[in-house]
Amino acid sequence: MRELGRRSEAAAPVFRLSRADDGCPSPGASIAPPPLPLWGARPTILVARTGQRDVVTAACPLALDLGLAPGMAAAHARALVTDLDVYEAAPEADRAWLDRLALHAVRHWTPTAAVSGSDGLWLDLTGTTHLFGGEARFAARLLSFVRRLGFTACVAIAGTPGAAHALARFGGAATLVLPEGREGEALAGLPLRALRLAPEALASAARFGIERIADLYPMPRGPLARRLGRGAVERLDQARGFLPEPIVPVVPFEMPCAERRLLEPIATAEAIEQVISDLVADLVADLRERGLGLRAAVLRCERVDAREQLVTVGTARATRDAKHLVRLFRLRIDRIEPGLGIEAMALAAPQVEPLGAEVIGTGFDSGPRAPDLAPLVDQLAGRAGEGALFRLEGRESDVPERAIGRTGPLAQPSGWPAWPRPIRMLARPEALSGVVALLPDHPPRRFAWRGRSYRVVAGDGPERIHGEWWRTTREMWAVRDYFRVEAETGERFWLFRRGDAIEDRTGDLSWYMHGVFG
């Protein structure tokens, strides 16, 4: 029935672009939903290349039901299930998601959160769960949050990180809240690898016939440490709470920000400029302490009528020069409408880059330093707009119109080959009329353009430029023959003829004006 309905409905975006996590996301930015789960009606597995073969690293519930399991060879899995969707595993993307979740946890749930292994998060819930209605309520809330994101999860809350790690992965329940001091009992029935032991320790334990964690409890500690290594004993003690195991928390990036609340509302340009210079001084001090320079700054002015005015400046290069920033804002003060008065102003730097100390001249090196154009570029861009300042760079094309491209104002572009080129060029070539020319290789003797006829006394050429067949099929055989001609009255033009006058399909032998030489 769905098929009979309108077909022009907008489809839900399957691959939603998530914002790149560049280390300085804005605070309060919530995590965007991930792509919809890829598994649906067909079993799906992820494979990764290890050595000479592909190994299954993850399998969807459907595939698990069909008997596929992580660790299996991909060829084996394909042989077992014929209609199988196979994708490459992307551990970096998984890790990025975990990092973002850890950042989210730090901002919303607890100050101490860290990524645990390749598939988990540690949250230190000490003293924070009462804000969410207790540990059980918090765990339920966490589960529904990750379900909304499209993930499944297991939550275990225990007194030690080691126990929580083991119970979340091997406990078998979606939510498990362990009462205080019961770690030993809860861990007793779990397999030994729940303790995060080194592979050698696991191998030797298997040799001694130790399978469960409970088997370790009655063993004397000295021989245990000799046989499985000190690490194993430490892990056991950490899980049972005899040794501390600190969590190294993720530290979220705080956007540099400065704020001033004013005693009296201000409305004059001078007062606003004063506040701006104070704010910039605060922000610059913060930036200097953290070794950052800003690329963009947003000034937020709160008016007494609860409206906000936003002013943004951008810089061509990371800077923390207070004078320069104040000058950039001064150019924009007239865009602020103070209304009845501004009662608070805040300055934030949403885009920052590392900026270390700069070496200034020692006085021994000779020669003046090249002037820095970045402040001027910012100033001019503030007046005329971002796109108004540019440089031109060479592009790899012989077609004259395509040989130039715009680039940033601080770039160091490369030039062009030294074929004679005009100083000014028409945006679109204009057709010539009344052309008298010897074919195929001579410049025209006379032509008329824009209502005037010219008699040519000298000419150079042809310079043959072929069409770029890899762009469009229309240019497959196209040829332009360029001539540089001088008219009797001293004009020097750049003309071209379409076609090489031998093959018909190279062009129709029409003539065009394209540029002028000085």
Partner: protein
């Protein structure tokens, strides 16, 4: 006791000192001078070249497209010679972009030496130029405008001397047949450039361009008019071969012209 020898009346030490101070003040207000490297022009120019901290105006001899191109190349050549040091840039401000950058490179103004600024109108453009001149980090500022009144040129001249940056103002034709240099201006020099037929080569081909370079007005010097060869890939002008030969034959002509200036 002999009578002192006859001497013409000499100015007193105070007068000399005052004169020296005046000269020093005027010289300090001027920036470094950029000579053309072409004997007759440098002789005829009051400062011996273009003032490196002043406003200079150029305009085409007619509204035709090739005169326009010659004027653009003339300005580009001067800008290229101002920006000859490594890692410095010239600013080229314009409202409608029809320059062809490879052509500019062939006048010595490579893509790494020129920063373009596109303004919405002439007023915005002149404001941009003023900021750029005051900043002082550019080697030269070139602007193509259609209208710039006397106040605007005064502001540009002040900004140029303040920032120590030369300014080339290219006045484009507003009305057919009316030379844009008829507007009042405070520029140091005003030039009018037209393109001429080049010297015929002995083989087929187009020779080096030939321009009529006319100095319409300069501060403290007479106007003059010359026929020169177009600038090369370093932005340098040259005397036509015939004139060069003649200059060698009659060596005192330059000197006489220099005294007249």
């Amino acid at each position: 006791m002999t009578a002192p020898p006859f001497s013409p009346p000499r100015p007193s030490a105070e007068e000399l000192q005052a004169l020296r101070e005046t000269v020093a003040r005027v010289a300090a207000a001027r920036g470094p001078v950029l000579p053309f490297g072409v004997g007759p022009i440098d002789h005829l120019l009051n400062a011996g070249g273009l003032d490196g901290a002043g406003l200079h105006e150029v305009a085409a001899a007619s509204a035709s497209w090739s005169d326009d191109a010659a004027t653009t190349l003339f300005a580009a050549g001067i800008a290229a010679r101002f920006a000859a040091a490594p890692e410095v840039s010239a600013l080229w401000a314009l409202t409608r972009f029809d320059l062809y950058a490879p052509g500019l490179e062939q006048a010595g103004l490579g893509p790494e030496r020129v920063l373009y600024a596109q303004g919405k109108n002439d007023r915005e453009l002149l404001a941009l130029c003023e900021d750029a001149l005051r900043d002082g980090s550019l080697a030269c500022v070139v602007a193509e405008v259609k209208a710039a009144d006397q106040t605007a040129t005064r502001r540009l001249q002040l900004a140029a001397s303040e920032g120590g940056t030369p300014m080339l103002l290219y006045r484009r034709y507003r009305r057919y047949g009316q030379c844009p240099l008829t507007d009042l201006s405070l520029a140091c020099t005003r030039w009018r450039i037209g393109s001429l037929a080049s010297t015929p080569l002995s083989m087929p081909g187009v020779g080096r361009g030939r321009w009529s370079v006319e100095l319409v007005r300069q501060r403290g010097g007479p106007p003059f008019s010359l026929e020169l060869e177009a600038c090369d890939d370093q932005g340098r002008l040259a005397l036509p071969a015939a004139t060069r030969d003649r200059a060698v034959a009659t060596g005192s002509a330059d000197l006489a012209l220099g005294h007249a200036a």
